[in-house]
């Protein structure tokens, strides 16, 4: 379990975190959403023990020598060593098993090939992320913190990493905290979301509830969508074969139903979030 209560942190006169409280239970995946500079990385560094909070309470519950593992920003590995050597070094450092079998098992767990023996400086960002996660998972921590794990990854890499995160929670009941500003990805992985803005948590709750509250329009795509005359009753913005329609969740269901009755095929329906509502719910 990851728990922090009323955490404050300042860098000189700059307020990085103000009265931040979050909680993530066993087997849960909590997404921390915030713009750049919102305080996500600072909070993660505090949770990982790299930075000391000015005040507040932090508790990481877990068994064993290592309660929490993680990646901050980009995975930082020894670039002149290969994947096997990096894992062996980090395992030795903390007294974890570092035999050939253990190292290979760690590589397999994150889906890395065993036959890559070149230095990790040659690895793609996706492979580095995987190796970073393998290092974080050494010594079987109960909690995992991933700071911006999807940035710099291609769509295939994002999908593979999403699956790895879901597998970890299902197989080990691990507590996972992920920060990102890619809300689309977080919405498919996280059970709960916390929204951080200017160093403060402005919203916390179930992912579906938060996203539904902040969705004021939907983007529908289909080659004949402009032929639907009834859409003129709504506020719409066209963009090629897509149309952004201001509508509630109930209304969009009706729209899709009507479109199907008129034999207009819809290739995608994507909620468009009102970021102002997401980051400043009190100001609305």
């Amino acid at each position: 379990m990851i728990y922090c209560e009323r955490v404050h942190k300042k860098y000189g006169k700059v307020r990085a975190l103000h009265n931040v409280s979050i909680s993530c239970g066993k087997g849960e995946i909590l997404g921390l959403v915030g713009a750049n500079g919102a305080g996500k990385t600072t909070l993660f560094k505090i949770l990982l023990g790299l930075v000391t909070a000015d005040s507040g309470e932090v508790e990481i519950a877990g068994d064993g020598a290592k309660k929490i593992g993680g990646i901050i920003e980009k995975p930082a590995l020894y670039p002149y060593l290969n994947a096997h050597e990096n894992l062996r070094l980090f395992a030795k450092m903390q007294g974890a098993n570092s035999s050939k079998q253990d190292v290979e098992a760690s590589l397999e767990q994150v889906g890395l090939p065993l036959n890559r023996t070149d230095p990790v400086r040659n690895f793609s960002m996706g492979m580095k992320q995987r190796l970073g996660i393998a290092v974080a998972l050494l010594n079987n921590p109960s909690c995992l913190l991933l700071d911006e794990p999807f940035s710099g990854l291609d769509p295939l890499g994002i999908e593979a990493l999403k699956q790895l995160i879901l597998d970890l929670t299902q197989q080990t009941q691990m507590t996972i905290l992920i920060s990102s500003h890619i809300i689309d990805v977080l919405s498919t992985v996280c059970t709960n979301l916390s929204i951080i803005h200017n160093g403060e948590i402005v919203q916390t709750g179930a992912t579906s509830t938060i996203l539904a509250a902040c969705t004021t329009s939907y983007s529908l795509c289909g080659s004949d969508i402009k032929k639907a005359s009834f859409l003129s009753d709504y506020d719409t913005v066209s963009n090629g074969d897509c149309m952004t329609i201001s509508a509630s969740a109930t209304e969009i269901s009706d729209i899709i139903f009507k479109l199907s009755q008129q034999q207009i095929a819809i290739t995608s329906c994507r909620p468009v979030l009102d970021l102002q509502q997401l980051f400043n719910p009190k100001e609305k």
Binding site: K45, L48, G49, L50, V51, T52, A65, K66, I68, G69, G70, I72, E73, K74, P75, A76, L77, Y78, P79, Y80, L81, E85, L89, F90, K92, M93, Q94, G95, G132, V135, A136, L138, N139
Partner: protein, 275 residues
């Protein structure tokens, strides 16, 4: 022991370590080559009058003199090289953020830095050993044996056997000064974190220390115990009478300075955030 092994492993897996060793050999090669092609002429001019008055065993430009020349790289070149390599043991970890990855594992901060201090000191000793071995072998091999003539306050002459053990002791006690500079550079790395800033600070520290060595502090005690007054202890072996008492006191003091510098570094590192 685990951390000592890891630091040694990392040090010898990085190409810059081998560049440093090559640079050391390069300095040595320059001394040997310049002595080989130009040394005899210069020595003959300088000592022409003395040669008429005194009898010297062997040539004046001999292995002992060349080793003494190489030994003089202890003033600036070798400590600067040590400081650059040793500070890099920490600054590159800050730069590449591997230090963050390390401290996301259950590793005690002060133990990790202590391992770096120990490995840095051992590496410095290894470099000096390498320099000493190669300079003795190459210098005697190319230039042969002979009496050593040294100019400190005046010209001093040592017979070959006497010169040999004075040079060995000078290397031995000079190592302590180099270890001090290495330890200082690692402490500077704790403070400054960035490679370039640390290199500049280390070079400045070295230059100022060398300048202060020549300056009278106006107080006999400070003139004896200030760290920059201890860096020339290895030169005492080229006085006619070896002042063992002074050498031992200076060495103990230097050992204490090394220890204090390490403790300051450990304290600061333990208190500092990694991020």
């Amino acid at each position: 022991m685990r951390l000592l092994y890891i630091e040694t492993y990392k040090l010898f897996r990085q190409s810059r370590t081998y560049y440093a060793i090559l640079a050391l050999f390069f300095i040595e090669a320059i001394v040997l080559l310049s002595a080989y092609y130009q040394g005899t002429g210069i020595i003959d001019i300088v000592l022409a009058n003395l040669k008429d008055t005194f009898y010297f065993q062997g040539k004046l430009l001999n292995g002992n003199l060349i080793i003494y020349f190489i030994l003089n790289s202890f003033w600036f070149h070798v400590p600067l090289l040590c400081m650059i390599i040793v500070s890099g043991m920490l600054t590159t970890e800050y730069q590449e953020k591997t230090l963050q990855t390390v401290f996301m594992q259950p590793v005690v901060k002060w133990k990790y830095l202590l391992a770096k201090y120990i490995v840095a000191s051992l590496f410095t000793i290894f470099l000096v050993l390498l320099l000493a071995l190669t300079s003795f072998i190459l210098s005697y091999g190319i230039f042969g044996k002979g009496d050593l003539v040294v100019y400190t306050n005046g010209l001093t002459f040592f017979e070959h056997d006497d010169a040999f053990y004075r040079l060995v002791y000078a290397f031995l006690f000079g190592t302590l000064s180099l270890v001090f500079f290495s330890v200082v550079s690692l402490t500077l790395a704790v403070l400054l974190k960035e490679s370039f800033k640390t290199w500049i600070a280390a070079a400045l520290f070295l230059i100022v220390s060398t300048l202060l060595l020549k300056i009278d502090l106006g107080n006999e005690v400070w003139n004896q115990i200030a760290f920059f007054k201890l860096n020339n202890t290895w030169q005492y072996f080229f006085n006619h009478d070896i002042e063992w008492n002074t050498i031992i006191i200076n060495s103990v003091l230097m050992g204490l300075y090394i220890l204090v510098t390490m403790l300051v570094g450990l304290f600061l590192f333990q208190k500092k955030d990694i991020g």
